[in-house]
Symmetry: C2
Subunit: 171 residues, 2 copies
Amino acid sequence: MVPVKKLREPDENLVRQKEAAFADFIQRKGLKTTRQRNTIISTFFRLRGHISVEELLNQVKQANPRIGYATVYRTLHLLVESGLVEERRFGDGLARYEGHSDVEHHDHMICLECGEIFEFFNPRLEALQESLAEENNFQIFRHRLELYGACKDKEACQRRKSRSSVAAQAE
Amino acid sequence: MVPVKKLREPDENLVRQKEAAFADFIQRKGLKTTRQRNTIISTFFRLRGHISVEELLNQVKQANPRIGYATVYRTLHLLVESGLVEERRFGDGLARYEGHSDVEHHDHMICLECGEIFEFFNPRLEALQESLAEENNFQIFRHRLELYGACKDKEACQRRKSRSSVAAQAE
DNA sequence: GCCGAAATTGAAAACAGTTTTCGTAATCCA
DNA sequence: TGGATTACGAAAACTGTTTTCAATTTCGGC
């Protein structure tokens, strides 16, 4: 079973690979390669974690301050369409985008104290879901499992259970 | 284990009980009892399922057409605060509200074809989540599990897998 | 290299769902 | 039954996201 892991630095080879895959996608669709899109995707792939549009735009603006929201949104949609990126919503009202990790499918643990998001995958869990669906005459296309709580890595998160921070507006 | 069930008609006694509980809540908070709030909550508790604000407003307007969005939103917030109702978001951008069923906690299967929402609960699933969290040094406060797919009750949902209907914008 | 159709951009407007404002009306305790 | 307090409803404001539109860029063919 694949344990929880904090996301590692994206490695440069993988990033290049993804950029190439996106270029392919763009070409296959008969779309055009533009400076803005390149800036956005290469910025995106070099970030790690679950990026909100605003976070991405901020980074992107460092490379090219003239790029605006619209283009970032549009490019993210393309990334999702290309299959290179997934959109997630964790209940704080923001869409977040995640470049595929090497784990194909995974679920999330979200620390309500520090906001850290961990990925995990467990085949028994998947199997159990399948068999439950089966029993109930339901066919699963996809699912979403999110555990909200406190990570124990940082003692701070265990102490500060006041639910003051991120917890307030989550969900 | 508690199997999937479609929601039954809310029974009149339970509804009365909830209305009373809400009245209590209002009083404890030093708020006022108003005709509008009464209309809204009694309409809400007599509906079943996972109600969107618009659905609720439509129903409410039949009893009193002068009631507007603002009051419905405000009353729903009170219901959530009172603990009698939970807010859910299934990724179509709408908040949905659910009066507690008799199953305290439960997860959801959502049919992407017909939009039907089923509730289920499975202790093994819960236990597995707990042990995964344990292993990974994480403390769960709450979680959310949603299975998206096609219900097999209606043959229509199995046939029509084209992802044309509800599926398109979901997530 | 240059043309021109087609795609893309950025700013701003539009949108959807939700929240807030503000003047008026209803509640309810002394 | 005041009268302070809370609630109401309509409309404006807000947030995150999408669309519009005129101007710009891309790129395959010449």
